[in-house]
């Protein structure tokens, strides 16, 4: 992409401004541009600058919304459940312990079918306490009934949150949406972001209130108690909404790409066409993985890469289409499920997805970057070399832990 392309896009008046901001700020700008009505947030590293920026927008009158400086993350999500139930468009962001403190409410938010949108600056989970980035908090949200997106750049954080409102508020979905991005590696990295014209955003994701809300002119009861004769059917409706969301997410992606001249897909491939191996990753290390693929190609190894933009619903069809011909796939997780059959949480999903389609492609589970241990592109290049040099089924027997010291002073 060259300078001239950017200029021409601004010329089309979709782009309001091109700024250099962090992913935290991109999240805040997106929520502001989506004209949220209520924000409730509690500070936690590395999310803090996102909610500080929201507070600043509201304090300066750039956004007409109520900011609730709650006394905990638990109350942040609780307050948003109340606000969303009362018909407001809402936003919050969190990380790590904060997300875990919200945990009960994650399930309630989806169970009550409230279109809440939340940013997640992903971070390691205590103990030992670490303020640094990994995806352990994210992995824990797997079964919560939220639509979960993963961004790889600040632009994508901004774009995904705008898409998230349209997805969440779609009548066929009505589920909360989480947009995650790497703590520090993205949350604190300044990079270019194109902000869009407010009318275009409004046109793309108009506030919809065609759902039942707490309204004294039409009283309804939310959060009723379901006995065994009813719980399953109600829960199944949520499952069905999650199924339906896949189609809606595709539609919203297509519409977004058309409106804003982007090219987002649920699963993005890199040099996969003739590849023997695919490295699957997500979040902020995508650029490092692509760099490693370039290195491998220089050495004659036919490697490719793939990243997931969506964790829930899991984009099985898109994924299978891209990796069904691979000899081996490796999944780099920055989270772990200790003791699982496959200890990388996304690796487990990928293996399950393949198996569900009758494929037996070997899936190498790789864990790296816990507590923000740097995932260098050379580490990924080394991984590709290992895969190239090994019998794949030797590598699938157990999860590979890259970057962990067994003894000190290993060079």
């Amino acid at each position: 992409m060259s300078l001239t392309v950017i200029k021409s896009r601004i010329g089309r008046e979709i782009i309001r401004d091109r700024v250099a901001i962090t992913s935290n700020y991109a999240a805040a700008y997106a929520a502001k541009d989506a004209e949220v009505d209520v924000v409730a947030a509690y500070p936690i590293t590395p999310q803090t600058p996102a909610v500080e920026k929201m507070a600043e927008f509201i304090a300066n009158g750039e956004l007409s919304a109520e900011y609730i400086p709650v006394e905990s993350e638990h109350s942040a999500l609780s307050a948003l459940i109340g606000a969303s139930a009362a018909g407001a468009r809402v936003f919050t962001a969190t990380s790590s312990q904060g997300l875990l403190y919200m945990f009960e409410l994650l399930y309630i938010a989806s169970g009550l079918r409230l279109p809440i949108v939340m940013g997640l600056a992903t971070r390691a989970v205590s103990a030992p306490i670490s303020i640094h980035g990994d995806y352990q908090d994210f992995a824990a949200t797997r079964d919560s009934g939220w639509v979960i997106m993963i961004a790889s750049s600040a632009q994508e954080v901004y774009d995904s949150i705008i898409m998230a409102y349209r997805i969440a508020e779609d009548n066929r979905v009505l589920l909360p949406v989480m947009v995650s991005y790497d703590g520090f590696l993205m949350s604190h990295t300044t990079e270019p972001v194109e902000l869009y014209d407010a009318d275009t955003i409004r046109g793309f994701a108009p506030k919809r209130l065609n759902r039942p809300i707490l309204d004294s002119s039409k009283p309804i009861t939310m959060g009723a108690m379901a006995v065994p004769e009813w719980y399953y059917e109600i829960k199944y409706q949520l499952i069905e909404a999650m199924h339906n969301s896949m189609g809606v997410i595709r539609e919203v992606h297509d519409a977004f790409n058309r409106t804003f001249s982007r090219n987002y897909r649920l699963v993005e491939g890199y040099m996969l066409d003739d590849a023997d191996y695919a490295v699957i990753a997500y979040g902020g290390i995508w650029g490092n993985v692509k760099r490693a693929v370039n290195e491998a190609r220089k050495r004659g190894i036919k490697a490719g890469a793939l990243r997931l933009r969506l964790f829930r619903p899991f984009p099985t069809d898109e994924l299978i289409e891209m990796i069904s011909d691979m000899k081996t796939v490796a999944v780099i997780d920055r989270a772990v499920s200790p003791g699982a059959a496959i200890e990388g949480p996304v690796a487990m999903e990928v293996a399950t997805a393949l198996h569900s389609r009758g494929l037996s492609t070997p899936v190498v589970s790789v864990v790296h970057g816990l507590g923000q241990r740097t995932v260098y592109s050379r580490d990924v290049a080394k991984l590709i070399k290992i895969i190239n040099d090994s019998q794949p089924w030797d590598l699938t027997k157990s999860t590979m832990y890259m970057g962990v010291r067994e003894y000190g002073n290993e060079g």
């Binding site: 009505l174 939310m222 059917e233 109600i234 409706q237």
Partner: protein, 116 residues
């Protein structure tokens, strides 16, 4: 708590038949369909001639199962009232607060199952 009375009278709908957001109860005050009157072992009976229409029983009923009706009544002694208090036996659980609190003892608790 498994409320058998309500289940007996309700068709168990499938997930496609429920309200699109099935967990919301969109019909307010619908527990009225649930006849908790069957819980009673004793029923309150109001002596309309003794009743002084003070509203005490109505006030303290937690169900509420005491109906305040705009129904004129003339007592045997010739006193006329615009209001009549009646028991909603479909819902009264027979706790007896009304009888106990009645300042003129116009409500009696009568065992259920006996002759009316």
């Amino acid at each position: 708590m498994n409320n058998n009375e309500s289940l007996k009278n309700t068709r168990l709908l499938g997930w496609r038949e429920l309200h699109p957001i099935g967990s919301y109860v969109v019909e307010p005050m619908s527990t009225i369909k649930n006849t908790t009157g069957s819980w009673r072992t004793e029923r309150p009976v109001i002596d309309q001639d003794a009743c002084i229409r003070c509203r005490t029983c109505w006030m303290y009923c937690p169900e509420p199962a005491i109906l305040e009706l705009k129904k004129p009544y003339a007592t045997k002694a010739g006193k006329r009232y615009d209001l009549t208090y009646e028991i909603d036996y479909d819902h009264c659980k027979g706790c007896g607060i009304c009888a106990h609190e009645c300042p003129v003892k116009a409500i009696k608790m009568v065992p259920e199952g006996g002759e009316e």
